[in-house]
């Protein structure tokens, strides 16, 4: 299964990656071989099998609507690459 150059470029845009021409070639080949590998599953007859979205045998895990302490603001902000005393700081978003 060969991935087209357009698909590679589209995926790169979605992932916010800027790739060189060489990288596009390499990643294209790698992604194609991963997909080929996964394609093997199509050799099985699954017409009688329910699709699985979760492997856990659990349903309906919920919590009550009771507030808990939030993080102190300094704690929350300190992991961000940039912040002010109150906010996360990011490059200007052009609206």
């Amino acid at each position: 299964m060969k991935i087209s150059m357009e698909e590679i470029e589209h995926i790169a845009v979605l992932a916010r990656l800027s790739l060189s021409g060489e990288e596009k070639e390499v990643f294209g080949l790698q992604l194609s071989s991963i997909l080929d590998y996964i394609e093997k599953l199509n050799e099985l007859d699954t017409s009688d099998t329910e699709p699985t979205s979760h492997v856990l045998l659990l349903n309906n895990i919920v919590r009550d609507d009771i507030p808990r302490d939030s993080l102190p603001r300094e704690e929350a902000l300190k992991n961000a690459p940039a912040h002010t005393d109150k906010f996360y700081r990011v490059p200007k978003i052009i609206e």
Partner: protein, 484 residues
């Protein structure tokens, strides 16, 4: 149906709305952070809602219950099996790089609500109601070369309520959204506060020649956070699309943004490519198989909804349809009305006072009925004083306003300001004779048959008695003494 007539071709609009309603929970949808509005920026976040590695979301049971409650109230089927999905995109207000939403298996499907437009009732289908988390808030103004992000809102529980493309005009779209808001507030699942963003919507709209079955190419308009904007943006978009078609152009499927400042919708083209959300089942949350017993419990806890209440107000209290519609448009208003009627007020009289003087006073002070300083029993007490002749209907308006302003009871206000009605015939006759004597010319003309001067004489008596004279007695005595 609003047809847009142009030349020989008539067009109609086809509109569907996606309404986002913030659910009235105390905590976020997947963590225990508070949802309180207006708190200090970034003071209500935790590792779950800011997307730290290794954390797991857990669904808020109340949010799930609220979504089911809304589904039941809008005739939806509650899905026996439902799950969350990841919607992937990058934006600074989305800490995880994906929003937890629902995709193929939403909690509610196939519902409907009834709307009234120009006295015409119609059913609008609801495709689905699903749960999702809100994003944070970006701040662009006064932030120099940067933008700032506040994540308090990230993870706040939302319901997205998607309508069928059943709406045919901006007016129908507004009526639908208003009705939905009323229902959500009755249910107690959303506070309906549009200024704070608790209720906002995106609209899908296309136009087509009347009579054609297929839909035209649709455009999505985002950022509609008031009824007025919904109406204006849709009106603008209908005109724009019609013009494009008439000039031989083609409508492009795209997302447009309503700019309330300039009153136009603008294309967000170029950002389209990023709208490839790559949904997949959310691995961090387990599926929901709602216990039918719980659904029954929620069903039996549903309040009387606005349509049922409106019909009851007509049948039980004999109110005109329009009065009943207005009084039930807000739950607290309908409760205020019923409290007053239960304490002995005549239904139509109470309705008139609410829709007239009370609304006027509330609007003037920008207050809601819940903030009304005047209690239902205070109105009823005052009405009794009108009925037994203690005060006139005219003075009642003054007393009503005084109760509203001071919170005092009618009796006290009447005593303090000496507003008791003068019904004593002897006392009124003295005044009547005095006025006839002072206006001899007018009295002559009245005797000569100019009956409309009656109003003038009544006015004079009321002026002299500061409106306190019993109008019936005044009328009788004037007639008698003018003609004698």
């Amino acid at each position: 149906m609003a047809n847009e007539e142009t030349g020989l071709m008539k067009y109609e609009a086809v509109i569907g709305l996606e309404v986002h309603a913030q659910m009235r929970t105390d905590t976020k949808i997947f963590c225990g952070c508070s949802t309180l509005f207006g708190s200090e920026p970034n003071s209500q976040t935790c590792p779950v809602c800011i997307g730290m590695p290794g954390v797991l979301p857990v669904l808020n049971k109340k949010a799930l219950g609220f979504a089911i409650r809304t589904g039941l109230a809008t005739d939806c089927t509650i899905s026996p099996y439902s799950r969350f999905a990841r919607k992937n995109y990058f934006y600074p207000d989305l800490p995880k790089g994906y929003q937890i939403s629902q995709y193929e298996l939403p909690i509610c499907e196939h519902g409907q609500i009834e709307i009234l437009v120009d006295g015409q009732a119609g059913k609008i289908g609801i495709t689905r109601i699903h749960m999702e988390e809100d994003a944070g808030k970006n701040i662009h103004e006064g932030t120099g070369d940067f933008s700032f992000v506040d994540l308090n809102r990230a993870g706040v529980p939302l319901m997205e309520i998607v309508s069928e493309p059943d709406l045919r005009s901006p007016q129908e779209a507004v009526a639908y959204m208003k009705k939905l808001r009323t229902i959500l507030i009755y249910l107690g699942v959303c506070d309906g506060n549009m200024e704070q963003g608790s209720l906002r919507c995106d609209a899908n709209i296309s136009v087509r020649p009347v009579g054609r079955q297929e839909f035209g190419v649709k455009v999505e308009i985002k950022n509609l956070n008031s009824f007025r904007f919904v109406e204006k943006a849709l009106e603008y978009e209908i005109k724009r699309q019609r013009k494009v078609i008439e000039e031989g152009g083609k409508i492009i499927q795209e997302t447009r943004l309503w700019d309330s400042g300039s009153g136009v919708t603008e294309s967000m083209r170029g950002k389209e490519e990023a709208h490839d959300y790559r949904y997949f089942p959310e691995p961090d949350l387990v599926p929901m198989t709602v216990d039918p017993a719980w659904i029954n419990e929620i069903q039996s806890s549903l309040p009387e909804l606005p349509d049922a209440k409106r019909e009851r107000f007509v049948s039980e209290y004999g109110l005109p349809e329009a009065d009943a519609d207005l009084l039930t448009s807000e739950k607290p208003l309908s409760e205020w009305f019923e409290d007053a009627v239960k304490t002995g007020g005549g239904p139509k009289t109470v309705a008139n006072w609410i829709m007239g003087d009370l609304m006027k006073l509330l609007n003037a002070e920008n207050k809601t009925i819940e903030e009304c300083p005047l209690q239902p029993h205070q109105l009823v007490d005052m009405l009794k004083l009108v009925e037994n002749g203690t005060i006139s209907g005219k003075i009642a308006k003054t007393v009503f306003e005084e109760i509203f302003r001071t919170g005092k009871n009618a009796g006290a206000i009447i005593q303090e300001q000496g507003l008791v009605q003068i019904s004593d015939a002897g006392e009124i006759e003295k005044i009547v004779d005095e006025i006839i004597a002072n206006h001899a010319k007018e009295a002559e003309r009245f005797k000569a048959g100019e009956e409309k001067l009656m109003g003038f004489f009544v006015g004079q008596v009321m002026k002299l008695t500061k409106g306190k004279a019993n109008p019936q007695v005044v009328n009788e005595l004037l007639k008698k003494n003018l003609l004698s």
